[in-house]
């Protein structure tokens, strides 16, 4: 991560925004099946990965006096889900780190927010649901009546990264078709 960021600064001279989207669903299953290994596999990517990404991004942005970081959380970052405890825990951690980093970076003029997607058409969702039938059934539980498109999540991230969101920091923008509104 440090190397990529240093290369970016060398080539472009600055970093205006960063989106930390690397994540894994880990090994979904009930709590009684979880292990130290399944925990580490999920937390290393989702929590440690986000932490170290933010660390090195802030190292560049804070001296710049400007910048915007967007972490990708999940609606599971603020609600529970049977069979996904470790993933849920990791995304709760992402939201906690987002808000804490926002408070630390605010005096430097750097904003930190997160997007919390609901069910989105990705390989991760396919692995989560397992079958087309189960995925379709999940889509029917969304008030807007469908699974989200990755571009719809991307546009929320672009908004938070942009100057259009200049007074927004420490926030979690949920993009879930209304699934958690009820």
């Amino acid at each position: 991560m440090r190397g990529l960021i240093d290369q970016t600064v060398t080539r472009f001279g600055r970093i205006d925004a960063a989106v930390n989207a690397a994540g894994t669903e880990g090994q979904p299953g009930p709590v009684v099946d979880q292990t130290a290994e399944s925990y580490a596999a999920t937390f290393n990517t989702n929590v440690l990965g986000t932490l170290l990404s933010m660390k090195h991004e802030l190292r560049v942005m804070q001296p710049q006096g400007r910048g915007s970081i967007v972490n990708i959380s999940s609606t599971y970052g603020h609600e529970g889900a049977a069979g996904a405890s470790v993933y849920v825990a990791s995304k709760h951690a992402v939201e906690g780190m987002t808000k804490s980093a926002a408070l630390e970076a605010a005096s430097s003029g750097v904003r930190v927010n997160a997007v919390a997607p609901g069910p989105t058409e990705t390989g991760m969702l396919n692995r989560f649901t397992g079958t087309a039938e189960r995925k379709a059934a999940l889509g029917k539980t969304v008030p807007l009546g469908r699974i989200g498109d990755p571009d719809e999540i991307a546009r929320a991230a672009v908004f938070l990264a942009s100057e259009k969101a200049s007074f927004i920091t420490g926030q979690i923008l949920t993009a879930d078709g209304g699934k958690t509104a009820g």
Binding site: M1, A18, S53
Partner: protein
């Protein structure tokens, strides 16, 4: 700011990939951090690919 420089992790697939495309459409320079070295990094105008 025109031509923002944006760094994206997880940019090879899913939401990260869609985010990289969305920024690239807006003329951003995108530095991606692919998770898998065997994968082909997505490159576009002013996109930095680290493999």
């Amino acid at each position: 700011m025109s031509n923002p420089v944006v760094l994206i992790t997880g940019a090879l697939t899913g939401i990260g990939r869609a985010t990289a495309i969305a920024f690239a459409k807006e003329g951003a320079g995108v530095a991606s951090a692919p998770k898998r070295r065997s994968s082909v990094p997505m490159c576009a105008a002013r996109t930095m690919c680290a493999v």
